[in-house]
């Protein structure tokens, strides 16, 4: 697998405080990498460092296996990006905005038409961008990022300000990019549900530090089922079951077991009842992805 982005110990300090610290991001070819974190976690700062807009205090960036500093033009030529809110010139029409970018990218006219078609802005391309809705500006920003049909696309919260239909549309678009155009996508978001639906890989950043980076499936695997059992005498029940090689965890007046087949649960129940301990509750529990995210980031309120 080819490494598209790899950062090593990437850090940024502002006034002595780390906004991003020791970030080791790895994005491979064909990934849709979801970069997830609560607001203010350092996502935008990290993405801006990838593109050279913000200069790292420490560490470095490799893109396409090349060091950023010495290969800036090569890297930018193969990377499309939309950082923070979309960039646009309000006094120009959508098409004129595309033309500005077209000159800088040096791509043929058909790229402009194609990009506008993909984000479905063709019918509004003559209108001044200052009169666009936020959703249209966002789509224009995506069109500008797509125009060069780059190998790598970096989108910072691309569904911000879109209505549910628009979000769905952009989501489908992003999902289709690796297959249709062979692109690798890095998308940031503060919404787990969004990343959950599109991403194949996920990196979770909190307080500037990467606290999880693996495949989406690996994150989902953490949301396994458990069985919780409540009895009239928890500690005695625990010691009895341990004799039979069960390994429950005592937590909040419950004994928690990893997921197990029905027969085993029946066995446990029978063991306890015959020992004279009344079983009051047996529940199946499932940790939601949201809970894992919240556990990892330690933030409940901001989401």
């Amino acid at each position: 697998m080819t490494e598209m982005i790899s950062t090593y110990k990437l850090s940024k300090q502002y006034d002595g405080v780390y906004r991003v610290k020791d970030l080791n991001l790895k994005v491979y070819e064909g990934d849709i990498y979801g970069f997830l974190g609560p607001n203010g976690a350092g996502k935008s700062t990290a993405l801006k460092m990838l593109l050279g807009l913000v200069k790292p205090t420490d560490g470095g960036v490799n893109m396409f296996g090349k060091e950023f500093g010495a290969n800036r033009l090569f890297i930018l030529k193969n990377t499309g990006s939309l950082i923070e809110s979309p960039s646009y010139y309000g006094h120009l029409s959508g098409l004129e905005n595309m033309r500005v970018m077209q000159r800088l990218l040096n791509v043929p006219n058909r790229n402009v038409d194609e990009a506008l078609r993909i984000v479905r802005l063709e019918s509004h391309k003559g209108k001044k961008v200052s009169q666009y809705s936020l959703g249209m500006k966002q789509r224009l920003g995506i069109a500008m990022a797509l125009m060069g049909f780059p190998k790598l696309l970096i989108l910072d919260e691309p569904t911000n300000g879109l209505d549910p239909a628009g979000i769905q549309e952009i989501r489908e678009l992003i999902q289709s990019l690796p297959q249709r155009f062979g692109m690798t996508v890095l998308i940031s978001s503060h919404l787990l549900s969004e990343i959950d639906q599109i991403a194949t890989k996920v990196g979770i950043i909190n307080n500037g530090e990467l606290i999880f980076q693996n495949s989406m499936d690996a994150l989902r695997a953490q949301s396994k089922r458990t069985v919780a059992l409540r009895t009239q005498n928890i500690s005695e029940a625990k010691s009895i079951l341990q004799k039979y090689r069960f390994t429950p965890v005592h937590q909040d007046d419950y004994l928690i077991f990893e997921d197990m087949p029905d027969e085993q649960i029946a066995t446990i129940n029978q063991l306890l009842v015959t020992s004279g301990i009344g079983v009051t509750r047996i529940e199946e529990r499932r940790k939601k992805l949201e809970d894992i995210f919240l556990e990892l980031t330690g933030k409940v309120s901001s989401l």
Binding site: K55, L76, M101, R103, L105
Partner: protein
């Protein structure tokens, strides 16, 4: 690549009102200058040269440098708003070209303004009834004025890229022009971009420049242009973009 960046700058000027500023200020200078000339014909007896002192005074000593300041602030304003630095500086063009393309645009706008001013001066001269032949020195004044405008443009662009406000760099250009008048009077004009314009355009003294003065004028203008380009480009490269 510089040409590509410059041509993208050209698109950005569509539908803008900068042309109004570019035409109104020279018209204004020539009108005031003409009125002065007509009312003071008694003392102003040197035909075209006298007219030049009058129209040139308002133009070269005040409106033109401020106009350059406005152009520079204008060219940076639409980049400062709506996060456009993000998109320009992630486009595959050298950062150097981003600054140079803007300076080229300032050069183009000031060249157009100078040409417009020259034709207004000619029309005004005919209109007030000057009969002597049109002095060829004016072409030199206009050209040197343009060279000095690039030096001022370098300074103003450098300021406008750094300061997000529109008014502040324009205000600075007004103050700097007034200071320039003081330095010119004290014979220090060659070492200050805003007074180079006064010298180059022969506003206060129509005596042609000596050979050494020519060398000094072009040398100093070139020096200011190079200095502020290097500093401006360096800053774009080194500092973080805050959108």
């Amino acid at each position: 690549m510089l040409i590509r960046t410059f041509s993208s700058e050209c698109i950005k000027l569509r539908h803008s009102y900068i042309w109004i500023v570019l035409s109104v200020l020279p018209i204004f200078s020539v009108l005031i200058g003409c009125a002065n000339y007509v009312f003071n014909r008694g003392i102003l007896q040197n035909e075209w040269y006298s007219l030049w002192t009058q129209v040139g005074l308002f133009y070269g000593e005040f409106f033109f440098p401020v106009l350059i300041g406005i152009c520079c602030a204008f060219l940076c304003r639409f980049e400062h708003i709506n996060q456009n630095w993000n998109s320009i500086l992630t486009a595959p063009v050298p950062i150097r070209d981003v600054f140079l393309a803007k300076l080229m645009m300032v050069g183009l706008l000031s060249a157009v303004t100078q040409a417009f001013f020259l034709s207004l001066y000619f029309i005004a001269g005919k209109w007030v009834g000057l009969i002597s032949p049109f002095p060829s020195e004016t072409l030199g004044w206009i050209f040197r004025g343009w060279v000095a405008s690039l030096a001022i443009g370098g300074v103003q662009l450098w300021l406008s890229m750094r300061i997000r406000s529109f008014a502040v760099p324009v205000g600075v250009s007004i103050c700097a022009t007034l200071i320039g008048l003081g330095l010119y009077v004290n014979h220090l004009g060659m070492f200050y971009p805003y007074s180079l314009l006064t010298i180059g355009m022969g506003v206060l003294s129509q005596d042609s420049l000596a050979m050494m003065e020519h060398v000094l004028f072009y040398g100093m203008s070139g020096l200011f242009i190079i200095l502020f380009c290097i500093s401006g480009i360096r800053r774009l490269k080194k500092t973080d973009i805050v959108a």
